[in-house]
């Protein structure tokens, strides 16, 4: 009875509210998907990104503003692969929004559309913050962006069939540009191919795979756990007599362990921006330009 009354109430007051805005409301968990949606949908989409490039997407809270945004979303775009496991399930439950629940067209998880790296054989918390589906930082390989774009543009058409032409056209243009950009970046970065590197957190595994870098060590003993002095000393010992090109850090992480190792070993540090600064107006293209530029610096 209460259920029926509330449904009646919903159907009476909501159509008016829904029609105020013609644009499709898009809620993304990470800025890379906001930037990609912007490329694919342009002004057809009203996009909100729950996180910025300066935030660790594992450690977000289901705060009131996010619930309010998720409440109105027509399409939710997240990475998946348990990256948002601490807050996305809670947001979905609190939002009272049937359109974006798992299984609905308005629920899009990027990690479902790419091949995952570092899928663990065993799930044991003593191995740190392991993700059953594999390393979730898939956006650091531009070829993954292309794969997700292909699926995402189809999802946009499914949700907003009236503007199929626009989405088709924008996708074709993006895909063309993106393929030539990937070729260009690969060519530019060919000088780091095969270079030995050390990373702080296993954030860049997809980038490392794409550019053919060779990861010698990770500063975190297991994912998500800050390195102890003992572990750092072990890494230092391991790097002795090796020709290491650089230490790769991620901008949102505390840089103390990296600074310590750099001082001890005189190795150059490259701090890469974790993702596109969507809120600051950066595009995915500009972000990858920047990554490719930064990663070559130590070997120039």
């Amino acid at each position: 009875m209460i259920l029926r009354t509330s449904l009646l109430f919903t159907s009476l007051i909501l159509p008016g509210l829904g029609q105020v805005q013609a644009a499709i409301n898009v809620f993304t968990c990470e800025p890379e998907w906001a930037a990609l949606a912007k490329e694919l949908g342009g002004d057809q989409l009203e996009i909100y990104s729950a996180t910025t490039a300066l935030q660790d997407p594992h450690h977000i809270q289901a705060r009131p503003s996010l619930i309010a945004k998720a409440r109105r979303a027509d399409l939710l775009i997240c990475t998946g692969a348990e990256l948002e496991t601490g807050w996305l399930p809670l947001l979905l439950r609190k939002a009272g929004n049937a359109r974006i629940q798992a299984g609905q067209a308005g629920h899009f998880l990027a990690a479902e559309h790419v091949d995952m790296l570092e899928v663990p054989d065993t799930l044991d918390r003593s191995l740190g913050d392991v993700h059953a589906s594999g390393n979730p930082h898939i956006h650091t390989d531009p070829r993954n962006i292309a794969r997700v774009a292909s699926q995402l543009h189809q999802r946009l058409i499914e949700i907003d069939p009236d503007h199929t032409d626009i989405y088709e056209k924008r996708y074709e243009a993006l895909d063309r540009d993106w393929q030539s950009a990937i070729n260009e970046w690969s060519k530019q970065a060919s000088m780091v191919n095969g270079a030995d590197v050390v990373v702080h957190h296993d954030y860049w595994s997809y980038l490392i795979g794409w550019l053919g870098l060779n990861k010698l060590a990770t500063l975190e003993p297991v994912p998500g756990v800050s390195p102890s002095t003992r572990h750092l000393s072990q890494v230092k010992k391991l790097l002795k007599n090796k020709k290491v090109a650089m230490i790769i850090d991620t901008n949102y992480m505390n840089d103390r362990p990296v600074r310590w190792l750099a001082e001890q070993t005189n190795l150059p540090v490259v701090t890469l921006p974790s993702t596109v600064d969507y809120q600051g107006g950066e595009t995915l293209h500009q972000w990858f330009d920047n990554l490719v530029e930064l990663i070559q610096e130590p070997v120039k």
Partner: protein, 436 residues
């Protein structure tokens, strides 16, 4: 359900969850494989409904249902005898009281939760706690919640924590201090849950605006007694939002009402033979207000953050107090006004380390036809306003473990007490939610 049945159910549930967890590391036992296969099948049938929109890399499908176990234990040390604890002007009931001196288990919990189908979510929580040297198993939560009502509506039904206060809705292992604020101890017996329904609505605005109402059976403390219909009910509203990228806030108002209450307080013995139990019969109203503010540089909670929290409650009660088992039966009318608030702050100054401070203050004004009876019931404050200052420090090696040291300077009653708690909280199984 009696305690024995509960215990059996609990043990089998434990065994079951153990099976699921160990299955990942050594998938050898035939039984385990069978169980897993059944889960796989269920998962597949859920997913195959719409082959295009699989949730393989999804949020919460690793365990189905998600199972988590919270291990909680404390080492307590007091200056005064914890058995003699009372709260001036507040009769204690529910879970209120101090843990015994020395080592004891706190609230260990077993939680099952899952999307039931595409329309409903369900959660089931057992808590195991020690009361008077007896291990008790309590059903803390057993509720369903709608996922697909849409339009910002959520309907919840079953047993759950009321939305009457900010802290009340959180499991106590998620609290920033070991013990409940004094106002929660005095009014709710630490925490308030009951069986009933909640309907809530979130407005389609950029500002978070939530309004809701709950209807309960009215059997649980601080209500009580049998009611054929709605025994107690609440209405509440919360608003919240962000200030820039680094700050967030939430503020709420709530109202609780219960009529024809029959509430028994925790009894106390005069001699070994007779135990006089104060019984309150009458009507009760509570008004609550709360505010929470959080700050993290660039909104990145991992490395550093600050949390400020304030709650205020005011209770108005009219009725009678009877001392059960007294002879001749003693009773008094009661016109009671009780209120209290706390303010606390917690600061994670570097990853894995957190410190906090809390201040509690209560006030009461209880009148009746026979002050001696009210005094027996613990409702006479003699002008003493309970007050407490707490400080704590936490080491949080990962999201799944926490060691906490807490010190209270407690003026709950006339003799000030020094209280020290060393507490561990470990969580196993599915990943916990990052609540605001």
């Amino acid at each position: 359900m009696n305690t024995l049945e509960f215990r059996t159910a609990f043990i089998s549930a434990c065994a079951f969850s153990l099976l699921i967890t160990t299955a990942h590391s050594s998938a050898e036992t035939h039984d385990i494989n069978k169980t897993l296969e059944e889960y796989d099948k269920r998962l597949q049938s859920l997913e195959s409904r719409d082959a295009q929109h699989v949730t393989a890399g999804g949020a919460d499908t690793t365990f189905n249902p998600a199972i988590s176990v919270i291990l909680d234990g404390v080492f307590a040390s007091y200056k005064n005898d914890p058995q003699g604890y009372n709260l001036s002007g507040f009769a204690l009931g529910g879970e209120a009281g101090l843990p015994p001196e020395g080592f004891s288990l706190g609230h260990s919990e077993l939680v099952f939760s899952s999307n039931i189908d595409d329309k409903f979510f369900g959660q089931f929580t057992f808590a195991v706690a020690e009361h008077n040297n007896e291990t008790e198993v309590e059903l803390e939560e057993a509720f369903f919640e709608t996922l697909a009502l849409g339009g910002g509506f959520n309907l919840r039904g079953g047993r759950f924590y009321s939305a009457i206060g900010y802290l009340n809705q959180q499991h106590n292992h998620a609290w920033d201090f070991y013990d409940a604020p004094l106002v929660y101890r005095g009014l709710f017996g630490d925490q308030y849950f009951d069986d009933g329904f909640r309907l809530s609505f979130i407005a389609p605005t950029d500002l978070f605006v939530e309004i809701g109402a709950e209807a309960f059976a009215g059997r649980q403390y601080p209500a009580g007694g049998e009611h054929s219909g709605v025994g107690s009910w609440t209405v509440f509203t919360n608003i919240g939002g962000d200030i820039g990228v680094s700050q967030s806030w939430l503020a709420g108002l709530s109202y609780w009402s219960a009529d024809d209450i029959q509430r028994e307080y925790g009894g106390h013995a005069h001699s070994a033979a007779t135990v006089e139990v104060p019984l309150f019969t009458g009507d009760s109203r509570i008004v609550g207000a709360n505010a929470v503010y959080k700050w993290a540089p660039d909104g990145n909670y991992r490395e550093q953050n600050v949390k400020l929290q304030f709650e205020y409650f005011d209770r108005d009660e009219q009725g009678d107090i009877t001392l059960l088992n007294s002879s001749p039966l003693e009773s008094s009318t009661l016109d009671s006004r009780q209120s209290g608030w706390y303010l606390q702050g917690a600061w994670m100054f570097v990853r894995n380390w957190r410190v906090g401070i809390r201040y509690d203050l209560l006030d009461s004004d209880n009148l009746g036809s026979d002050i001696a009876v009210l005094d027996e019931a613990g409702l006479v404050s003699n002008g003493h306003a309970p007050e407490r200052v707490s400080v704590m420090a936490e080491w949080i090696p990962s999201e799944y473990s926490r060691i906490r040291l807490q010190f209270n300077r407690d003026d709950s009653y006339q003799q000030p007490d020094n209280q020290v708690y060393l507490q561990y909280t470990f969580s196993m199984g599915s990943h916990g939610a990052h609540i605001f």
